[in-house]
């Protein structure tokens, strides 16, 4: 194994007539010679190819059941094709549109009230001059990101729930208890604050990194031109964050139909489907819980396809505005 690439190289050196005869050696070399040199790399990729094929690409093909009347007893091969019937059922289902509406409302709400929080926190923390203090705060606020949703919801339940810390306090003062964990009206606020608690600190990391690359002389120049602290934030700091903000906005828009699945399914029972049903929970309940496999697969496929279009579209818009986007063309 050790000798193979070396031998290939030696042979090649003899075969090549002159260096200028093959300006880009890698491209021009015949397939077999490249294979001989690169097969270890291909071998290293084998596990990932197998895992992706089985757990990503086979399920992608498995989506054909959306066009079938799938029954687990006869399997995919034995089930009949029914054309677009399942899709028609999904589109005609008010519960589906209810889930779509809920999903979009939650995404929109979080875009307004969660998205700016890490940016503000990054700017605030960046203004802390003492390195030690900054590092300590950073490591504390990153921490909740690494706790599971079960833990986060449990903690919220203990603090805000019916028998929780806050209500104990209110009752001991003779005040009326507020039921936050089961109230559909304040559910949006609840899940957004959970998200802020869990992920705002972590979301900061990208912005802090972008801020650390800002040239200090820009601030100095702005100050010389008479810009105060706030104007420096507006004219120097925020433009420096612009590419990152746009990138994350695109990613978020592409994920517009995906909102914290685990977070919602944990609390759906307490609040009810009215407020907490999103597309993912809809697919889960109609497929796995109620066993309407083809129907759920059709709903999931609609979601996946629209998401894909959203990502590509958002990225296109970013290119139009001259930003890098997620991938380059």
């Amino acid at each position: 194994m050790t000798a193979a690439p070396q031998a290939a190289r030696r042979r090649e050196r003899v075969a090549a007539p002159a260096p200028e005869a093959r300006p880009s050696p890698r491209r021009k070399r015949p397939f077999l010679s490249r294979l001989r040199e690169d097969y270890p790399l291909l071998l290293m990729c084998a596990p990932v190819v197998i895992l992706l094929a089985v757990f990503m690409y086979a399920p992608m093909l498995g989506n054909v059941i959306a066009w079938m009347d799938y029954s687990p007893y006869v399997g995919i091969l034995g089930s009949d094709f029914v054309g677009w019937w399942n899709f028609q059922r999904v589109v005609a289902d008010p519960r589906f549109w209810h889930a779509v509406t809920n999903t979009l409302i939650i995404t929109g709400f979080q875009l307004l009230f969660f998205f700016p929080v890490p940016i503000a926190m990054a700017i605030l923390l960046n203004s802390v001059l003492t390195r030690r203090v900054r590092t300590v705060i950073q490591s504390i606020v990153y921490l909740p990101h690494f706790f599971s949703w079960v833990i986060v919801v449990s903690i919220f339940q203990q603090i805000l729930g019916g028998a929780g810390l806050v209500n104990q306090f209110l009752r001991s003062r003779g005040l009326e208890a507020v039921e936050v964990m089961t109230n559909p009206d304040t559910f949006l606020l609840l899940i957004t604050s959970q998200q802020v608690w869990k992920d705002a600190g972590w979301g900061m990391i990208v912005f802090l990194a972008a801020l650390s690359t800002v040239d200090r002389s820009q601030y100095e120049a702005a100050a010389v031109d008479g810009a105060g602290a706030w104007r420096r934030i507006w004219h120097v700091t925020l433009p420096a964050l612009r590419p990152v903000i746009i990138l994350l906005l695109i990613l978020r828009l592409g994920d517009a139909l995906t909102v914290g699945f685990e977070q919602l399914i944990l609390q759906r029972d307490a609040v009810g489907a009215g407020a907490a049903e999103v597309l993912d929970t809809f697919v889960y309940y109609s497929g796995i819980v109620y066993g309407d496999w083809s129907y759920a697969a059709a709903a999931g496929l609609i979601k996946g396809t629209v998401s894909l279009i959203l990502v590509l579209g958002a990225n296109k818009i970013a290119h139009v505005f001259g930003e890098a986007g997620v991938y380059q063309r």
């Binding site: 490249r34 690169d38 001059l129 504390i140 079960v150 339940q157 697919v283 497929g287």
Partner: protein
């Protein structure tokens, strides 16, 4: 916060000298650039308050959870719920849990899934990242493309479930590992790190006759400890915290990971089906079993808290290297 003792005398005389001389003036922070005015008392207080509140918002809940799990039933009753100020402390909740057996078994499942899953995922990630890291190597484009697609288009829950079920993995712990073993994001972080390693070193090793395996093992890996630590933490945390896959694929409550037991005990307030250990029936009273519930929460947090301090300093270097470039 900004009145720490200056570290470098040179900068003090240059930046802080004039301000420090004035009567009643605060000393300038040594890192404060000369063009920036010293913030007034209002701005300073606002900033300090905001940062303190943010830190407290993270720490206070964790603190009460830990303290409650260690408190006696009497202390919990006195506090009327979670305990903020520790009084008499006891490990009773933890000994009860161990005696109950349910949680111990769940911890075992979670540890197994996390250890095996992380090892497998890291191995696959390292191999793939290196296999894709040499520009122009044969076939790296289609494989990279295959990986990238998974970031944009998911296969969907239902077909994935059918594949896992079709492979006979329902109620097998492998169902908690294999479907999520590949994370395109983590692999791309790693690949970016590997491609940024100086090509000269790798080329000279190649000319000296080292095989790709040897280069990976003896040159690339020792240079990549930071990124491996960070990606390892990401994988480890994902496996440890995974909860929904277990809901989907594990029906047998004897094979439940800790997160599911936690949901059952704390959020649904009930025992794990098929067991006799019911945390809400212990000790009686309104808040009975709260210490036990909190002890399970703490158990679910502990591994993260142990690993986190060691990996945390690599975050900015490890994560940021091209995480965005894709």
């Amino acid at each position: 916060m900004t009145t720490t003792v200056p570290r470098t005398s040179a900068r003090v005389s240059e930046a802080g000298g004039a301000a420090a001389r004035g009567p009643g003036r605060r000393r300038r922070h040594p890192d404060r650039p000369p063009y920036e005015a010293e913030p007034g008392p209002v701005a300073k207080t606002a900033k300090t308050t905001a940062l303190t509140l943010i830190v407290l918002a993270v720490l206070v809940p964790l603190w009460t959870v830990v303290v409650t799990s260690l408190s006696t039933q009497a202390a919990i009753n006195d506090a009327g719920g979670l305990v903020l100020v520790p009084g008499e402390l006891t490990f009773k909740a933890y000994t009860d849990i161990i005696a109950g057996g349910v949680v111990t078994r769940a911890v075992g499942v979670s540890v197994f899934v996390t250890a095996v899953g992380t090892a497998l995922s890291l191995a696959v990630a390292i191999l793939t990242a290196y296999g894709l890291s040499r520009p122009g190597s044969l076939g790296h484009r289609p494989i990279l493309f295959m990986l990238l697609i998974t970031m944009f288009f998911g296969a969907g829950m239902i077909p994935t479930y059918l594949v896992v079920a079709g492979l006979g993995l329902i109620d097998s712990l492998w169902a908690l590992i294999l479907p999520t073993a590949v994370s395109a994001f983590n692999i791309l972080i790693m690949r970016n790190f590997f491609t940024n390693i100086d090509r000269g070193i790798l080329d000279s090793a190649r000319i000296d006759g080292a095989s790709e395996w040897r280069i990976l093992g003896q040159i690339v890996l020792p240079l990549s400890k930071a990124v491996i630590a960070v990606v390892g933490l990401f994988y480890g945390v994902a496996y440890w915290n995974a909860f929904f896959n277990a809901v989907l694929y594990i029906n047998d409550s004897a094979k439940w990971p800790l997160q599911l037991v936690l949901r059952s005990y704390v959020l649904q307030g009930q025992a794990v089906p098929g067991t006799t250990f019911d945390p809400s029936s212990l000790d009686g009273g309104q808040t009975a079993g709260l210490a036990i519930q909190m002890a399970v929460v703490v158990l679910a947090m502990v591994p993260v808290l142990i690993v986190y301090p060691f990996v945390q300093r690599h975050f900015s270097s490890g994560v940021m290297i091209g995480a965005i470039k894709g």
